[in-house]
Structure formats: C-alpha cells, structure tokens
Amino acid sequence: MLVKLSLNSIKSRFKDYLVLFFGLIISSAIFYMLEAIATNNQFTEGNTIISSIKFIFQFGSILLGIITLVYVSYANNFLVGMRKHDYGLFMMLGAKKGKVSQLVAIETMFVGIISTVLGIILGISLTGVLSKLIMKQLGISLKHFSVIYFPAIKITLILFIILFLIASILNIITFSRTSALTLLRSSQATDWKKASNLKLIIQSILGLVLLGIGYFALCDIKNLKLSSIPIALVTIVLGTYFVFNALVSILITQLQKTNFGQKRLNNFTLAQLKFRIRDYTKILSVVSILFALSLGAITVSYEMNHQVEKYANVNSMYSIAVVNPDKNIKTNIQKLSDASVQQYDQITTKNRIYYNKSQINARPFEYQDVNNSGEIKGIKKASIRELSNPNSTAYSNFLNVNGYSSKKIIFVSDQKFNSIHQKVNHLTLVKVKHTTENNIILDKIVAMQSKQLKVKNVENLPGSYGYFKLLKGVYSGMEFMGTFLGFAFLAMLASCLMFKILSGATDDRQRYQMINKLGAQKSTQINSIIQQVGLLFLLPAILGIIDVIFGLQMFDQMELISDPYSDLILVLCGFLFVYLLYGLVTVIMYIKIVLPKIKITK
C-alpha cells in the first residue's frame, strides 16, 4: 500500500525526478569516460603521447571522485527535500517510521542504481563519439582505445553504489530521527538573523586583501619563483571564501538601500540572495576556484599546443634538412606551400665537414635566439663567428641540421673550399611558414628520409619537423586531456550548483505564492527568479574568470606562452555556453517548481 502511494507521488513529480536522473546520469557518464581512459593501461602505455601525461588522468580522476561525492550529496538533498513532505504525510497517516525509512532507502538506491547504469551506457556512447571527434580535431590517432572497457565500468559502478549506500544510510537516519510534523513543516523552519556588520566588514577587507596578495603572487612569479603557486593557492581560496561570505552580503545590503533596491520585487530578490549567499559560501567558492582551474588548464593547454611550432623552432628554424635530396623528396619539397628553400654546399671528410663561408654569408643561416633562462628572443641571422662558437645558440642549431654529427664543422674561404678535391654534397634546408598546414607532405618527406638514413625515431632526424611531431603529440594529448577534464569538471560543478539551488526551491514555493497574492505580476516573479539564480551562477564565474586572467600572467611572465590571452576568449565562450546552459535549465526548473500554476485564460 505504502509502496503504491510512494510510486504515485513519484509519478506526480515526474519532471523533478527527470532532472535528478538526468544530472546523475551525466555525472556517472563523465566518471566512466574518465576512467575508460585513465584505467586503460594498454591504451595509456601503448601511446607515447598519452603515457607521459597519465598522471594527469589519475590526478583528475581522484579530483572528479571528490566532486562526485559532493555532487551525490547535493542530489540526495534535492531528493530528500522533494520527498520530506510526502513521507511526513505518510507518517501522519500512521505509517511506521521503520517502514518509511526502509522506503526512503529503497527509493534512494533505486534512483542511484538506475541512473548509474544508464550513465555508464551514455558514457560508453559518448566516449565513442567524443574520441573520434577529438582524434580528428587534433590529428592524432589513439591506439588500443576501446570504448567499452570493463574495469572502468566496474570502478564506476562500485563508486556510485557506495556513494548511494552512504546516502541511503544518511537518509534512514534523517527520517527516523525527525518527527512527522517536522517533516511536514520543514519548509517553514527557516530562521533569518542579522549578521554583525563589523564582522562582515572585517571579512570583506580580509577577503579583498587576500585576493590581492594571491593575484600579486601570480604576477610576480619571476621573483617569488616556486613559492608563488602555494601562496596564490592559499590566499585565493581563503579570499574567495571571505568575499562570498561577507563582501557580497554587504554589497547587497547597500543595493537594498538604493531606489533600485526598493522597486517592485527587487528588495525581496536581494533579500533572498543575501540569505542564500551565506548558505552557499562553500559551494560558490568551490565552483569559482574549480571554474578557474579548469578554464586555466584548457587555455594553457590550447595555447601551448598552438605554440609547438615555436618550441620546435628552438632546435631549428628549418623543418627539413636533407643532404642530396633524391627526386622524390625534391618533388615533395616543391609541393610545400609558403616554403623557402636554401642550399649549402658541404664536403664531408673522415673527421670534418667543410662549408663555404661566402655561400653562408650570401644567405645566412637563421636560428631562433634563446637566452640563458630559455626565453625566446626572436629570429636571427647567424654570422660565421657565431657559427664557429660551440657555446652559441647558432652553433647548436647548425649542429642540428647536420644531424648532430660528431665531425668538426669548419667554415672556409672559396679558395680553400674549391681546393678540397672530394665529392661536394648539397645540404638542402627547407623552412615553411605554417608547419601544420604542410604536415601531410612533411610526413612523407620525413618518412622517406628516415628510411634512407635508417633512423627509427623521426625526432632524431635533422631539421625540426621530427621534433615538432613529437611535441605535437605530447601537447595534443595535453590539450585533449585539458579539454576533456576541464569540461567534465565544469559540467559536474554546474550541476552541483544546480541541485544546491533547486533543493531550496521547494522552500521558496510558499514565498512566491504569497507574493503572487499580494499582486506581483508573473513576469515580475520570473524576473526575480532569473536574477536570483542567474547571480548565483554568475558570481563564481566572474571571480573565476578574474582568477584566470591573473593566473595566465604567471605563464606570460615565465615566457612559457607568449600571448596567453589570445585563446582565452574562445575557450571562455565554450565554457560559458555549457555553464549558462545549466543556469538556464536551473531557472526553468525553478520556475516550474516555484510559481503557482494559476489557470488565468487571458
């Protein structure tokens, strides 16, 4: 009988359950996807690209595990909030506490298991689609990558079942300790007290100062060196907490006093927000900081991947260096777009390689200048003197195009060069403007070259393209990782926030019903909800974006990436799109839960 009643009330709140299921399915799907990559040893070890960054996956899955824990607890609160009234009513009608607790536990497990199984199925299909898409996008192929991976399924199932088991036990405790009446009236139990102004002001100032120190530490990494990161981490985390706990409250109170604050429902909306923010301090801080970390990680990995060419050029400005290219290689070189080709004559003896000075002076050898601390200083033309100095950058670049030969390189005059009666070879150097655009032809050339020279790993070939390929692999892998993890975290964070907000919606229903009676128009009420939910979503995002702007300074200062902000906008757009989509769903759900359904036909 009770089971039937319970099922009936589930039916009547089908839409709320749909959101609950949807959120949980997404979270277990994301977890499965990450595990499918992280735990697949064959895949991670079989790919030079991925194996170097395996630790990021492991770190990521631990972090995701923690977020999942928070997430399930919020989702469970949402579930309990939804059911409190129903179960309170059952108890009033005479159902035994034990029976009700049992029912609650069964319902929790039921929701958990169904959503986890569906989540894994979704995860499998998403892994398939996403991996194909990303491999194509990044131009890499992933070996041994299986979409259905049993150990990942096992881990996902175990984690989620344990989490829901804990949730069930907690729910049993909640329901067996609380009386029917408290359950029924739980929504009216909110207690609102004024916080002391002095405390708020001190906390706000402290928060701003801490954020300031953190941002300064990020910008001043050159002097602070390695201590910059821990300083920034601690101060920004604490600063964020205080800003949400106090500063936002103060700003809202000030806003309430203005004319704007007195208009229509604004005062109510602001009061709601002020009330909420304090309750939300922790989750808003976590969302803000993880938002920043994920956004930063994606941006940096994008940016680095875009600069692989520059990194590779540190070894050599010339993608290809071939001695006496055959006809096949020559025709391929001609096919390259925007390429400039130059040729030096060389004579190789037992211990030496001779070059003609005047030939090199006529068309100087180019290299990317790097100072002692590794900063890239721009492109330079090498003089013979630099080329002859074994400690110069020019020399090491020249050595590269000579295949790191152990023979001594000597520059001689025309006369001297011509007097050496040995076979003259031609070293052909090819510089392309855009390496990535030419990658197919360059691949062909390197393949032929490594066959001729019997070189196994392309990165050991003269010229920078082999090295470029190696770096590209690593950085594409990082970009893939960064993007995947970043968006996975974002989706989880946004849904944590969503459930946190929605679990308060039931309490708000009465407030809006009353406001409706007092004569608030529907549009005014909807605006009030959009403002409330919108601000709860926007505040952590804004602070997170500020964090990233300063965080990227760190990379800029270290010259790791030259223009860290150029990709930020693009990544940010993608980020905000996903994030705000969650915000939108939350607003719509909230309106559905909160606003009274009046059937006014006009």
Binding site: T190, D191, W192, K193, K194, N259, Q262, K263, R264, L265, N266, N267, F268, A271, Q272, K274, F275, Q510, R511, M514, I515, N516, K517, L518, G519, A520, Q521, K522, S523, T524, I598, K599, I600, T601, K602
Partner: protein, 250 residues
C-alpha cells in the same frame, strides 16, 4: 443607497481534476457587499468558502457568472491586470501569517507598494501611518522570527491596509492565534472597518463571525441564509449565530 464595493452574480465553479468526475464546488452564488460593510461568510469545511474567496481575490477564475469589485468586472481583466488589481484594490489577511521571513517588518509592509512601483520616499509616510495605527512602530526593523504571533498578525493587517484597498479579504485570519491574540486582531479589524474600509471575512468560527455586521451562510456551494447584527451587541449577535448553527446541525 450605498455604493456596492463587491457584486457577485451567479458564480459557479466546477473543478475538473483529471481522472475523477467534475466537481461543482460553487453552484450559482449571488450576493453583494456595500462600501464600508463588515461581512462574514460562514460554512462547514468543504462548503466552498476558500474557492469563493480565491475567485474574489482573482487567484482563480469562476466557471461562469460575474464578479464586480469597485465597479470593475474581474472577468475582463488579463492576468497582469489582475495582479495589478490585487496590489491596488485588495488587502489580504491569511491564516498562516504569510510574512516573508527574510524581509524586515517594514519591508514586508511596504511590499504591496513596491509592487506598484511607488517611489520609496512616498511610501515611507504611509508605512509609518499604518504602523502607528496598528501599534507596531517599534518593531519595524525586526525580522518576523523575532516577533510574536500576535505581532505577526498585526503586521499582516498593516500590509493589507497599506495600499488603501477597496476591500480586505480574510481567510480564517484568527485560525492560528490563541484567544487573546484572536480577540486583539478582531478588535483591530473592527477599528479598521469603523474607519470606512470594507471587509469580507471567511470563517467557521462563531466568535470571529460575531464581529461582522452581516453573515452569509454557505452550504454545498450555495448561499443558504443571511443574518444581520442590526444593532445587537456583539455578545448578543454571538448567541444568534450559535443558535443559527444549532438549527443547521439538526
């Protein structure tokens, strides 16, 4: 003749909850309330009192019939106009005090004025005025959780009065109060009424009803009988009501 503040003609209400048979909660109700009257509507639980009140309050629509408030035909109003109408012309006093716990007493009282987009400067005086009328000037800056049940009910009365409504509607306003506070609230309503505000009170409590000047009895969705105090003292009228209820029970 007095001006009619409320005129209800042949109002019916049929609930069509899906699955079950249509249920006719109101079966053709007609009555009117004059300006300045204090009218009670009494009836057993389930007789249709709340349904009627919701229709008068523009929170629900009648299936057929017409309701005029202060000369305005409610069925001609759009949803937005209804909201505006509620804010300007009606005052509500509910059983559960219905104060917003995250707003101060002052902010609660001024909410109907804010909703009409009246400037803060203009409504401060008005808030002060109703607050002193209801003797709650000293608690204006407190939050609802810091005041007593009787004070809360006075605050909701103040909120009902603040927009100078044509009609105050009360749905069992004393239902959640002890007898002392109930008495106080009813006295307050009486004062308000004597200052010329029309009040329509829905109740099943004879004591509350005895403060009204005229009582309509509603039974099974129809108005059965009507009695007037006609110069009787409150306690005499109370006796009349009890007698009347007695005859219904037989």
């Amino acid at each position: 003749m007095n001006k009619k503040i409320l005129d209800v003609k042949d109002v019916t209400k049929v609930y069509n909850s899906n699955g079950s048979e249509p249920y006719e909660a109101l079966k053709g109700i007609s009555f009117s309330v004059d300006q300045g009257e204090f009218v009670g509507i009494m009836g057993a639980s389930g007789s249709g009192k709340s349904t009627l009140l919701n229709i008068l309050a523009t929170l629900d629509q009648p299936t057929s019939g017409q309701v005029m408030v202060d000369g305005k035909n409610l069925s001609n109003l759009s949803a937005n106009q209804m909201a505006e109408f509620r804010a300007k012309k009606l005052g509500f006093i509910f059983q559960d005090f219905n104060l917003l716990e995250n707003l101060t007493v002052r902010e609660n009282i001024q909410l109907p004025l804010s909703l009409q987009n009246i400037k803060a400067k203009l409504f401060n005086n008005k808030v002060q005025e109703v607050a002193s009328q209801l003797n709650i000037q000293d608690i204006l800056e407190k939050y609802p959780s810091q005041i007593s049940g009787g004070q809360k009910q006075r605050v909701s009365s103040a909120r009902a009065l603040v927009s100078d409504p044509s009609l105050i509607l009360g749905d069992e306003p004393t239902g959640a109060l002890d007898s002392q506070n109930a008495r106080e609230l009813l006295d307050t309503l009486n004062d308000i009424n004597e200052q010329g505000v029309s009040i329509l009170l829905v109740t099943h409590d004879p004591f509350s009803a005895s403060f009204c000047k005229r009582i309509l009895f509603i039974k099974d969705g129809q108005i059965g009988e009507e009695i007037k105090s006609d110069g009787l003292s409150r306690s005499e009228f109370y006796q009349v009501i009890l007698d009347k209820l007695g005859t219904f029970e037989q």
